[in-house]
């Protein structure tokens, strides 16, 4: 029985270095077309082959391209030999491993552009939406055209969401909700943006506690009467990752903190997130104190209001 999620979990558990491509990557990006196989891009060295065999150990992996002689993965390739691509059939479904993707490039190229998502308890690299669109554009099969249509729609929706978000980041408070403590230096948290139409976007972020503490300490060194304004705003948006910066502009220079947001998801309902601009001198001290207090107790929620 096909269980592509099981196959993917096995690959992630075995720590093979790969980029998810093909129809499954399209599903990750939001397409709806059902696929019957799992495609990945990877360079299968001897070390990777050992991991691959371990990952598929009880799934009876066989090379499927020659219907009359379907060699087991254990038997081929033989030690010391390597092959570029693997077309396997397993008890959990079909797994294709390609060393490159036509129209896009080799594994390193794919990997450098890839999105990293968190699934099944692991970080998983997925071919970027743009690369996947390129790859599907170069294919001629009707099913690839069909997936391409959906991916183009996904892309347009993401661009529209991003523009909409940038336009509507104008409210006056922001809240960070802690969702998970990763280790003593990092926590996972969320920002939620609500726009005037009550349409919400949720942003997951990783917060570096040390950076926050340093930021709060630096804020203390800014004399109240010298500060120009405090600005907490979107800095840039690229491939669903948003750099968020909090900075104080001062006549003596500036104190800046950058936080990188992980991904965008829709969420309802939401809290307010904002661009905060103020020339209120006491705001600086309050922000610094809020951050410092919270960074000592990162399991608590952090909030800061104008």
């Amino acid at each position: 029985m096909e269980n592509l999620n099981l196959l993917l979990r096995r690959l992630l558990d075995s720590e093979i270095d790969f980029v998810l491509i093909g129809g499954y990557a399209a599903i990750v990006h939001g397409a709806s077309q059902v696929t019957h196989d799992l495609d990945i891009c990877a360079v299968i060295t001897e070390e990777q082959l050992i991991k691959l065999k371990s990952a598929l150990r009880d799934l009876e992996p066989k090379h499927r391209m020659n219907p009359s002689v379907q060699l087991s993965l254990d038997d081929f390739p033989v030690k010391g030999k390597s092959i570029d691509n693997y077309y396997l059939r397993t008890n959990a479904g079909v797994l294709d491993i390609l060393k490159d993707v036509s129209a896009v490039g080799d594994f390193q190229k794919l990997k450098s552009n890839a999105n990293t998502i968190r699934i099944f308890g692991h970080e998983c690299k997925v071919i970027s939406l743009d690369d996947l669109i390129k790859a599907k554009t170069a294919m001629t099969r009707p099913k690839d055209k069909s997936v391409l249509e959906e991916l183009l729609i996904v892309k347009q929706k993401l661009l529209k969401n991003r523009d909409h978000f940038i336009e509507t980041a104008k409210t006056k408070t922001f809240n960070i909700f802690v969702t998970r403590t990763i280790d003593k230096n990092q926590i996972e948290a969320i920002f939620i943006l609500v726009d005037a139409k009550n349409d919400s976007l949720k942003f997951e972020i990783l917060l570096d506690i040390e950076k926050l503490r340093n930021f709060a300490q630096n804020l203390k060194s800014f004399p109240n009467h010298n500060h120009d304004h405090i600005e907490i705003a979107l800095a840039s948006l690229k491939n669903e990752r948003i750099a968020f910066s909090a900075k104080v502009v001062d006549l003596n220079g500036r104190c800046e903190l950058k936080l990188e947001l992980k991904e965008i998801k829709k969420f309802k309902p939401g809290m307010m997130f904002s661009k905060v601009i103020s020339t209120e001198p006491s705001l600086l001290n309050r922000l610094g104190q809020s951050i410092e207090t919270w960074s000592n107790h990162p399991s608590d929620n952090f909030s800061f209001n104008l």
Binding site: M1, N5, D37, E149, K157
Partner: protein
């Protein structure tokens, strides 16, 4: 030959966006779980078809 923009406009006017909107509202893991459920359903339907019409001629699936 259509530009990407022309093709997209044509697709947008003819395609139901609700399923894509729904998928985009889900976390990644849920998208994959949803897909597996769909795959399971399709496989059950294929089995049912085999019971009625017999097994189709086997073919090696084309690498994608």
């Amino acid at each position: 030959m259509n530009t990407e923009k022309d093709s997209l406009n044509s697709i947008l006017s003819n395609t139901d966006h609700d399923l894509i909107d729904f998928n985009l509202s889900l976390p990644y893991e849920e998208r994959l779980m949803n897909h597996q459920r769909s795959l399971d359903t399709i496989n059950e339907l294929l089995k049912a078809r085999e019971q009625i019409y017999g097994k189709p001629e086997s073919s090696t699936s084309t690498p994608s």
